[in-house]
Symmetry: C2
Subunit: 256 residues, 2 copies
């Protein structure tokens, strides 16, 4: 009998978030599922790893019929522990991260713990996907996102299509029937227009609190931002090589 | 009289690290320097940002004749606060981050708080450079790294060369006279072969502690890893668009 694929599920909103519950439910249809996820929300953790402190993991009973571990570390730590300790004796066939509460389209990928967990897995050659829903609410409706993740996981696990390294999938905040389809996209250009709330704490000490809004800077029809605006699920294939190859000759004046 | 350029200096090893002291000393030769740096070491923080907590900053007297602020946030937070609060009324001409105690060559760029601070600045159009020395010691010798950073900052500030977005500069652990020169490179391929130290704490609770060694996976003569091995300073120009453009058509079977 063929062994079912081993699917590692993680996230950055913490093991009790609604989004990971949806993703585990989908993953169980396709394979043996193991969850290793942070024991607390880790949004905006980027690709942080824990170096100067020890990490602890505890087996928890959160998802029916699924081995699950809560971890004191970052999303990337969770994947490192899964690869090197918990699942070291069996090949991980797929790593899925999310479903994140909130967009990781455009430049948000660099701040995203969800995507960093997926990237960490992909660095070891594990096909990896980060899923994010464009709704920040704790109690968001994940039905459309569940449908989209099922479609994509099914196609990625098809053995004919084993060329997946790292995908950034974002899902519009729509009911399944309202989603127009799935589009393969480029990373849209945009940035945060930021502001800090400045105030004083109960002891009269000044503090700053990050605030702001995201602004798209182009209207490229191939971009994830445009696909999402039009009601499509966006899928961006991602690289690990951050070299700006086009610039290498141009800045050769720096060499000597 | 021409205004001197405004140079923002930050790091991830904390405002008291030896590396940032070296970098401030170099920066003062070229412009008006403002330091905003974490109040504690933040190695391996990646592009983490602080969303759910307030951030505090305090003016400190650490560098002679230089406005300096310690910040309770991450390296990326420091840059966001500098851009949006502390220096909002004056254009930042250059952001330099480091000099990091330890390599950020190859894939280490994704874990690096040093590079994330520089990337954060570059997202706002500020030419930005992360500098790292291949020596982890608190008391490393930064003389070669100071020489290299001075060479590169001088060329980048030359107004004829205003095309710099984000550079990842790594410096071999050599005396100035032993450094062979500066090379513009690609990001070398490699990864961490990891292991976790597994042990029990004084209360008999199990913990894991990240350990491992970096391994280069190719011997590409154009790579930063090779340049550093040969005694050169490596300069890798970096992108913000993480799209794997070559894969877009290839994975179009995911769309529907």
């Amino acid at each position: 009998m063929m062994q079912r694929p081993l699917i590692l599920v993680t996230n950055d909103d913490g093991i009790l978030a609604k989004g990971i519950k949806s993703l585990v439910k989908v993953a169980k249809k396709f394979g043996d599922v193991v969850v290793v996820a942070p024991n607390k929300p880790q949004s905006g953790q980027g690709h942080a790893i824990t170096i100067v402190d020890p990490i602890r993991i505890h087996k928890v009973d959160v998802f029916e019929g699924v081995d699950a571990f809560e971890c004191t570390g970052t999303p990337a730590d969770c994947v490192k522990l899964a690869k090197n300790v918990l699942l070291k004796d069996r090949k991980i066939d797929l790593c899925i991260s999310g479903i994140n509460h909130g967009s990781n389209a455009s430049i948000n990928i660099i701040y995203s713990g969800t995507m960093s967990a997926a990237r960490e897995a992909s660095l070891s050659g594990i096909p990896s996907i980060g899923f994010s829903l464009l709704n920040f609410d704790h109690d968001a409706d994940f039905s459309g996102a569940s449908w989209a993740s099922e479609q994509i996981i099914s196609k990625v696990l098809d053995t004919k299509n084993s060329d997946i390294k790292l995908l950034n999938v974002n899902i519009p905040d729509l009911k399944t029937a309202e989603i127009k389809g799935i589009k393969v996209c480029t990373q849209g250009e945009g940035n945060w227009v930021e502001d800090f709330q400045e105030s004083k704490d109960p002891r009269e000490q000044r503090y700053y609190w990050l605030a702001g809004r995201f602004e798209a800077s182009t209207d490229d029809p191939r971009s994830d931002l445009n696909a999402l605006k039009d009601g499509y699920v966006s899928v961006v294939p991602c690289i690990q090589d951050l070299t700006d190859h086009a610039k290498i000759d141009e800045i050769n004046y720096l060499a000597q």
